[in-house]
Symmetry: C2
Subunit: 229 residues, 2 copies
DNA sequence: TAAATGTTTCGATTACGATCGAACTATGAA
DNA sequence: TTCATAGTTCGATCGTAATCGAAACATTTA
């Protein structure tokens, strides 16, 4: 039994509390500096630096210098998905670090998951697009149908520009709170950006919570309900 | 950042090499005894016992006594899926424990993944069923269409009996080698059993490899190709 | 009953890695 | 230049957890 990928190596990287905190913080999708991540993880800068270089070596994250800052972000969607799956398992078997509280409820409703909308509202968006045939599964990835293209374009998203990029347009991502899929990929990100542009929603910089304004939520509900025919 | 599921706890469980070996061995879907798993992991029985109780406490596996033996298996499909995802990441970033060899090639072609068929052939079965509309995605799970029911029943699978069980009928499971989905769930298992019943394929008890006989593979190819209309 | 096999508990050893203070490098500002 | 901020490297300390020998416990077989 010494064949195959070395899962212990990757799992051990995630298995340290400080590193897990760092990775969780990066699930917001934003790139953070070493100092910020040290604070998130609750360790000194030296310790964080050591952790960050290990995570980098393991290809779990991506580092880029910018002046005297060094910004870190998750390496790719796969890492984010793995982390979500881990959260799902941990949550289901009751291994929470704190009791579910009001903050938790907000997280379950709408939160950032590596730049796209997750939680109850994320799942609702995904389901409605699936039900209307806007997106279709194709192997591991999803395809945006012509109708879906029209829908997104009509909503103010420059789908053509997204298609030119080499990152996948649509992907599905499993929610740990809902245990359902929500929309990821560059289109998923574009939707979240658009919600912010329109003033429907605002990201909380610290907590991954996305708060929708009252009217924003109303518009959102229309968006996912309308023309179910 | 102290909210949410404790991913470090779960990841650390998987992050020990001996425990990772144990979990990998259980990916075959078979229930194994403590002694067998100790051998797989390359540790003494005492050490394995300690690991097994930790994994059990973390709800990663399921233990059942039977006489003077104690059988262990993975707790559920979610654990298996998490492990597959981990393998995918580890493989993609090149963290293999050994060079890809002939054994690896066989693993990539057809192997057991928690009781169902994985690898190239697993993906082909999944794709053909998807293309013919036999299975359809629905949220996280998959639905078996009427045509799909007929197809499976015609192949000698007692779909009605499977439906009565409380475990999901169809699920998708991501392949680490193919990076595509193959069919999991009780129907996935039923297909593999049926292949064995018909003498098309045989499981290698040690390595997760599934070897198809020459005629078995021919039949299989017809099964996934026929009536693509 | 005794013997054999399978598994767990106990205790001691050991090794690895997380942590941080201190010193060092690098970039930007004054 | 000098100062300040950001990050890394070094070295020492410290804790925890993996490991295994030995012994206990459990269950089946003879």
């Amino acid at each position: 039994m010494k064949e195959g990928p070395d899962i212990a190596y990757i799992a051990a990287l995630i298995g340290d509390p400080a590193r897990a905190n760092i990775l969780t913080a990066l699930m917001s999708g934003r790139a953070l500096t070493a100092t910020e991540l040290a604070a998130e993880a609750g360790v000194t800068l030296q310790t964080a630096s050591s952790h960050l270089s290990k995570l980098d070596q393991g290809d779990l994250l991506h580092a880029r210098r910018q002046g005297r800052h060094k910004y870190f972000s998750l390496a790719n969607d796969d890492v984010a998905q793995l982390l979500e799956k881990l959260m799902g398992l941990a949550a289901r078997s009751g291994h929470l670090r704190h009791q579910p509280g009001p903050k938790n409820a907000a997280l379950r409703k709408a939160r950032v998951c590596y730049h796209h909308l997750a939680g109850d509202m994320g799942v609702r968006l995904f389901d409605s697009m699936m039900a209307r045939g806007y997106i279709r599964p194709e192997g591991e990835d999803l395809t945006l149908s012509n109708e879906g293209d029209g829908f997104a374009t009509g909503f103010g998203i420059d789908v053509e520009a997204l298609r030119l990029k080499k990152t996948p347009l649509c992907r599905e991502c499993l929610d740990w709170s809902e245990r359902r899929c929500h929309l990821a990929g560059s289109l998923g990100r574009a939707f979240l950006s658009r919600f912010e542009e329109l003033g429907w929603a605002k990201r909380n910089q610290k907590t991954r919570i996305i708060s929708f304004s009252r009217s924003g939520e109303k518009h959102f509900n229309q968006l996912v309900t309308v023309c179910t025919r």
